[in-house]
C-alpha cells in the first residue's frame, strides 16, 4: 500500500501542530509563584494525583497537536493505494481511456472465436470495474484513430452500447496515434485516477511511432497520481497469407484489350505455402494460378486477361480462406482507354520528314485518331493553342523557345500537363541549360556525341513498366543503333533507356504537378534507327500515356487513405458513389484542370463506383493495408519502449483483471477519515479538559 497526498502543498500546515506546545511553553513561563506554608500535602498528592494531572496535561497537549495535524492532513487529501482498503468499498473516481483495436487483423479467428469479440469481452470487464462518477473514453486503434463517442461518457450502459456497435474493419492499426488521442483525452479528464487500456493483438506493424516517437503520457496534475497504462494483448494465430499488391498493365501488341495482372502473395506464416490464386474480373473468375511462397517470403501470381477497353472494369485476386479473410482479396480496376489529345509542336522550319513526322506517325499511324488525336502545330502557334485541352505536349526538336512559348508551356505543366521533349539538330545546348526546361526535366546537356559505328540503345531496367514486353533479357526486342545523341547530367530523373558508354537516352522527370520526358537522341534516321524501328511505336505510346496520367484513372488506395478519382469525362451534374456495401455517398468534387471526386479516408475495402447522370465515370479500388497482414505481435520490450513515459503493466489472459487493476488503482481518499479522527480527538480533548472541580 502507498500513501500519497493530492494537495501536498498543504502539508506545511502540519507545522501548526506545534502551536499547542508553544502555547504550553509560553503559559508555563507565566505561572504564578505562591509562597506556601508547607508543601507537605502537595508532596503527598504528588505521588497520587499531581502526576496524573501532569499526565493529563501531556495528553491534552498531544491530543490538541493531533487535532491540528489531522485537520492539516485532511486538507492535504491523503489517498491510500492498493491493499485491502484499495479493494474495499470503492475507490477514488477514475477516468479511463480504452483503446480498442478494430483493425483488419482483429477480424481473424482465434481458438475461442474472433479476436475482436475477445477484445470486446475484455473491454466489458473493464467497464464492469467502473463505478458511479467514473468517466470512460473509447478510442478506436484503426487508422485513423479517433474517439468513438466524443466527450466520453459517465454511463456504463452507453459505453456497452458503443462496444456493441463496433466491429473490426479493414484498416491498418495505429497504436501510436490511438494512444496520442487517448492521452489528450485523459489530460483533460478531471478524475483522480487516469488509466489507459490498450486492448488488441498488439500487432508489431501497429507500433511504428513514426514522426510521433514514443507515446507521451498526459501531463500530471499537482498531487494527482500519474496516469497508468495497461496493455492487454489478445493472442491469436499468426500464420497468414495475404495478397499484398496487384498491378494491372495494358499489354501492347497482340490481342486488343489484353492486360497483364500480377498479384503478390505474401506468406507471413512459418511454413512454406502452396496456394491457388484466383482472378475475377467483373465478378467472373477468369483465371487461376498456383503459387508457392516460402515462409516469410512472397510469390507472384501472373495472369493475362482481355477486357473491353471502351469500358470500366473491376476485379479482384483472391486466396482461399485462412485465419484472416480481409487480406485474402485484393481489388483492382481497369480504366477504359480514352483517346489522348496530343499537341505536337514542330519547328518553324521543319522538313517533311522531321522528328514531328515520325512522332505523328508513331502515335497515329493510320491517321484515324484512334488512340491518340494528334494536333500538329508550328512553334509560333503554340501560344494560341487552348490551354487544358491537351494532356500531353510533344516538342519535336523545336530548338529555342520564345518567351511566350515558355510561358505557355509553364502553365501547361503547372496545370498537370505532360511534356515530352525530343532533342535533335536544332537543340541549343546553352539555351537548354539556361532555360526552364533543363531545371524542370532535371537534365543538363553537355555535348553532342557522334559514334559512327553506332551504340545499341539499351534498357536501364528491363522490367520497367514502359518497357514491358519490349525487352528480351537485358536487350530491347529490336536492336536500335544510335550514332548521334547528347550527353547529359541527369538530376533526379528516371532514366528508362541509355546508351552504354555515353549516357542516358530517355529520361522522365516528375514535377510537382506533372511529368516531363526527354529523348536525348533525335527521331532522325541520320541519328539513329528509331524512326524505322518497331520499338518506337509502343515506346511512344507508353510514354505519352504515362505523361497523360492515364494510370491515375485507375485509382487504387488502401483503407484509411483518400480515394481520389479523375472525373474529367463527367458531364456536369451530380456525381454519386456506390460503396462496396451498396450504400450511396456524395463525394467531394474538386475542380481544376483535372477535376476529381474525393472520398476521404475510405474505410471499407472493395470497389467504389462513381456515376454521373446515370453513367459510370470512374471506379476506385480500396484495399486493406498490406502491413495489416503481418500478424506477428510486437514484443513486450518493443511495446515497453514505446510506453516508456507511462507507468505501464501487461495483463495477460491468465491474470485476474479486476485484482490487477484494483490493486494498482489509487485507492480511497482518506480526508474523511482524518476529519473523523479530528472530530474524535476533539471529543477526547473536551473530555480531558473538562473542569475537574466545581
Amino acid at each position: 500500500m502507498g500513501l500519497t497526498f493530492l494537495n501536498a502543498g498543504f502539508l506545511f500546515a502540519a507545522l501548526a501542530a506545534l502551536i499547542p506546545l508553544v502555547i504550553h511553553l509560553i503559559s508555563r513561563r507565566r505561572v504564578e509563584t505562591v509562597d506556601w506554608s508547607s508543601l507537605r500535602f502537595l508532596k503527598e498528592l504528588e505521588r497520587k494525583r499531581i502526576r496524573r494531572v501532569r499526565l493529563r496535561q501531556i495528553l491534552l497537549l498531544i491530543v490538541r497537536s493531533l487535532i491540528i495535524l489531522a485537520v492539516a492532513l485532511a486538507v492535504a487529501r491523503p489517498t491510500l493505494s492498493g491493499g485491502l482498503l484499495g479493494r474495499g468499498s470503492g475507490h477514488a473516481k477514475t477516468s479511463v481511456a480504452i483503446v480498442l483495436d478494430d483493425s483488419g487483423s482483429m477480424g481473424r479467428r482465434g481458438d475461442g472465436g474472433d479476436l475482436f469479440d475477445a477484445a470486446v469481452g475484455v473491454a466489458r470487464e473493464i467497464v464492469d470495474l467502473l463505478e458511479e462518477g467514473d468517466q470512460a473514453f473509447l478510442v478506436r486503434a484503426s487508422d485513423p484513430p479517433e474517439e468513438v463517442r466524443p466527450g466520453g461518457t459517465f454511463s456504463r450502459d452507453a459505453l456497452v452500447e458503443e462496444l456493441r456497435g463496433m466491429a473490426p474493419g479493414a484498416a491498418a492499426t495505429d497504436y501510436a496515434g490511438a494512444i496520442a488521442v487517448a492521452s489528450d483525452l485523459l489530460a483533460g479528464a478531471r478524475n483522480l485516477n487516469r488509466e489507459l487500456y490498450i486492448i488488441g493483438d498488439v500487432q508489431r506493424t501497429g507500433w511504428s511511432g513514426g514522426p510521433r516517437g514514443p507515446a507521451e503520457r498526459p501531463a500530471g496534475r499537482e498531487g494527482a497520481p500519474p496516469a497508468r497504462a495497461y496493455v492487454l494483448p489478445i493472442d491469436g494465430p499468426e500464420g497468414n497469407l495475404g495478397v499484398s499488391a496487384v498491378s494491372v498493365s495494358r499489354k501492347y501488341g497482340g490481342t486488343p484489350g489484353l492486360h497483364a495482372i500480377v498479384a503478390e502473395v505474401v506468406n507471413h506464416g512459418r511454413r512454406r505455402a502452396d496456394v491457388p490464386v484466383r482472378l475475377f474480373v467483373d465478378g467472373v473468375q477468369v483465371g487461376q494460378a498456383g503459387v508457392e511462397a516460402e515462409a516469410g517470403g512472397s510469390a507472384m501470381a501472373r495472369f493475362a486477361t482481355s477486357v473491353d477497353e471502351s469500358e470500366w472494369h473491376d476485379g479482384w485476386v483472391e486466396l482461399p480462406e485462412d485465419v484472416l479473410d480481409v487480406d485474402n482479396r485484393r481489388y483492382f480496376v481497369v480504366a477504359p482507354l480514352e483517346r489522348v489529345e496530343v499537341l505536337l509542336v514542330r519547328a518553324e522550319a521543319a522538313g517533311e520528314r522531321d522528328e514531328a513526322y515520325y512522332v505523328h506517325r508513331a502515335l497515329d499511324p493510320t491517321l484515324t485518331a484512334d488512340r491518340f488525336r494528334v494536333a500538329e502545330v508550328a512553334l509560333s502557334s503554340l501560344e494560341s493553342q487552348e490551354q487544358g485541352r491537351f494532356p500531353v505536349v510533344i516538342l519535336a526538336d523545336v530548338g529555342r523557345l520564345d518567351a511566350g512559348a515558355e510561358r505557355w508551356l509553364a502553365r501547361h505543366s503547372s496545370e498537370g500537363g505532360g511534356l515530352l521533349v525530343v532533342l535533335g539538330s536544332r537543340t541549343d545546348i546553352r539555351y537548354w541549360n539556361r532555360g526552364p526546361l533543363a531545371a524542370a526535366a532535371g537534365v543538363v546537356l553537355r555535348e553532342p556525341v557522334v559514334r559512327e559505328r553506332g551504340v545499341r540503345l539499351a534498357p536501364v531496367a528491363p522490367g520497367h513498366p514502359l518497357l514491358e514486353g519490349l525487352t528480351v533479357g537485358d536487350r530491347l526486342i529490336d536492336d536500335v543503333s544510335v550514332r548521334r545523341a547528347f550527353t547529359a547530367l541527369i538530376e533526379e530523373s528516371e532514366v528508362v533507356l541509355e546508351l552504354p558508354g555515353i549516357g542516358p537516352a530517355l529520361a522522365v522527370a516528375r514535377t510537382p504537378s506533372s511529368e516531363i520526358g526527354v529523348l536525348l537522341t533525335g527521331l532522325d534516321p541520320a541519328w539513329n534507327g528509331l524512326p524505322r524501328s518497331g520499338f518506337l511505336v509502343p515506346l511512344l505510346h507508353r510514354v505519352v500515356e504515362r505523361l497523360a496520367g492515364g494510370a491515375e484513372r485507375a485509382a487504387s488506395v488502401d483503407v484509411g487513405e483518400d480515394l481520389v478519382v479523375p472525373i474529367a469525362s463527367a458531364r456536369p451534374g451530380r456525381v454519386e458513389v456506390t460503396l462496396p456495401d451498396g450504400s450511396g455517398l456524395a463525394p467531394t468534387l474538386r475542380a481544376g484542370r483535372r477535376p476529381t471526386a474525393v472520398i476521404e479516408r475510405v474505410r471499407a475495402p472493395g470497389i467504389y463506383r462513381f456515376e454521373a447522370s446515370g453513367r459510370r465515370v470512374a471506379l476506385g479500388a480500396v484495399n486493406p493495408t498490406p502491413a495489416e497482414s503481418d500478424l506477428a505481435q510486437a514484443s513486450r520490450e518493443a511495446i515497453g519502449e514505446h510506453l516508456a513515459a507511462w507507468e505501464h503493466r501487461f495483463i495477460g489472459p491468465t491474470d485476474t483483471l479486476a485484482s490487477e487493476i484494483l490493486e494498482s488503482r489509487r485507492g480511497r481518499e482518506l480526508w474523511r477519515v482524518f476529519v473523523y479522527v479530528a472530530l474524535g480527538l476533539i471529543a477526547i480533548e473536551m473530555f480531558l479538559a473538562r473542569p475537574r472541580f466545581a
Binding site: 505561572v31 504564578e32 505562591v34 508547607s38 508543601l39 498528592l45 494525583r49 499531581i50 493529563r56 472541580f693
Partner: protein, 299 residues
C-alpha cells in the same frame, strides 16, 4: 517603643471581655492557687495559709505555740503550696506561621491569642510561662504569676519573628521533660508537621498528667486551597518549589487536609486533649471566647 508595641496585644475591648472569663483546669492538678485553682493536698506547705482548732491526731509540730501562749488554746497552722496553676503557652514561630492570606499571618494571630491567654491566666493569678519554638526551643520563659510576668511575656511575643522549619514533636518532648509539676500546656501552632511526631509529643504531656489545649491555627487559603490558575508553590520553610494545577487537585487536597485534621481531632479527643481548630479569618477574641464558653459549659 517596645512597651507600646506589645500593648497592641491588649485590646481594651478584649481585655474587658476577658475579665469576665476564666480558664479553669478541668483535670486535677497538683497545687492550687489562691484563686481558682487550690491544691487539694493540704498538709505541709511552704506558706502559712490559716489556723484551725487542734484536733486530736494532728501532728504536734503543727501546733502554733505562739497562738497558745496568747490564747491558752491549741491551734494548728495550715499551709498551702506556693505552686499555682502552671500554664505554658507554646507558640510555634516556624516560617510556616508567617503565612497569611490577605489578612493577618498565623504568627500574628498566634501572638494575639497567646497574649489573651497569658492575660487571662495571670488575671486568675495562675502562673504562665511562654515557650517560643521552631525546630527547637527558641525562647523559654518559666511560668510566674507576678504582675511583671505579663510585661515580660508580651514583650517576648512582640519580638518573636517567624523563621526556620518546624519540629513540633521534639519541642514538645523537651518541654515535657522539663515540666516537673503538672500544668496546663497550651499549644498554638499550625501543626504543619508529621502527625506521627506531633501527637506523641502531645500525648507525652498527658502521660505526665498535664492538661493540654491545642489551638490549631490555619489560614483559610490553606484550608480551602482556592486557586484559579496553575501555580508554582514555594515552601516558606524549605524554599522547595512545586508546580501544579490547584484546581485539578483541590478535591484531593481538601480530602487530605480533612483527613489530617480529623486524625488530630480524633487522637486528641482520645487523649483528652482539647483540640481547637481556628481560622485566621475568625477574630482571635471571638475564637477564644467561643472556646472558653464552650469549655465552661462542658465543665
Amino acid at each position: 517603643m517596645a512597651e507600646e508595641s506589645y500593648r497592641r496585644f491588649l485590646d481594651p475591648a478584649v481585655v474587658s471581655k476577658l475579665a469576665t472569663m476564666e480558664l479553669r483546669a478541668r483535670l486535677v492538678v497538683e497545687g492550687f492557687v489562691t484563686g481558682l485553682h487550690r491544691s487539694p493536698y493540704k498538709g505541709f506547705s511552704v506558706e502559712f495559709a490559716e489556723h484551725r482548732q487542734y484536733m486530736p491526731g494532728d501532728p504536734l509540730k503543727h501546733i502554733d505555740w505562739k497562738v497558745f501562749g496568747k490564747t491558752d488554746r491549741f491551734y494548728v497552722k495550715e499551709y498551702e503550696e506556693e505552686t499555682n496553676l502552671r500554664g505554658y503557652v507554646l507558640l510555634d514561630a516556624s516560617a510556616s506561621m508567617a503565612f497569611g492570606g490577605d489578612g493577618i499571618s498565623k504568627l500574628e494571630y498566634g501572638r494575639y491569642l497567646s497574649a489573651a491567654l497569658i492575660y487571662l491566666m495571670l488575671k486568675q493569678q495562675d502562673s504562665v510561662g511562654l515557650l517560643v519554638f521552631d525546630q527547637a526551643v527558641r525562647e523559654f520563659i518559666p511560668p510566674r504569676s507576678s504582675p511583671r510576668q505579663l510585661h515580660i511575656l508580651l514583650s517576648e511575643l512582640d519580638r518573636t519573628e517567624p523563621a526556620s522549619e518546624t519540629e513540633i514533636g521534639l519541642v514538645l518532648h523537651e518541654l515535657a521533660r522539663r515540666m516537673r509539676r503538672r500544668g496546663l500546656v497550651i499549644l498554638i501552632s499550625d501543626l504543619l508537621d508529621d502527625p506521627e511526631d506531633v501527637l506523641p509529643g502531645l500525648k507525652h504531656f498527658r502521660h505526665l498528667k498535664h492538661e493540654v489545649i491545642v489551638f490549631h491555627v490555619l489560614d483559610p487559603r490553606e484550608a480551602e486551597f482556592r486557586f484559579e490558575r496553575d501555580a508554582t508553590f514555594r515552601d516558606m520553610e524549605t524554599g522547595e518549589l512545586m508546580t501544579t494545577e490547584p484546581f485539578a487537585i483541590r478535591r484531593d487536597y481538601l480530602e487530605a487536609v480533612d483527613d489530617w485534621i480529623g486524625r488530630l481531632r480524633r487522637e486528641c479527643a482520645e487523649s483528652r486533649i482539647d483540640y481547637v481548630p481556628i481560622r485566621t479569618s475568625t477574630p482571635y477574641d471571638r475564637a477564644l471566647f467561643s472556646y472558653l464558653e464552650k469549655r465552661k459549659r462542658l465543665g
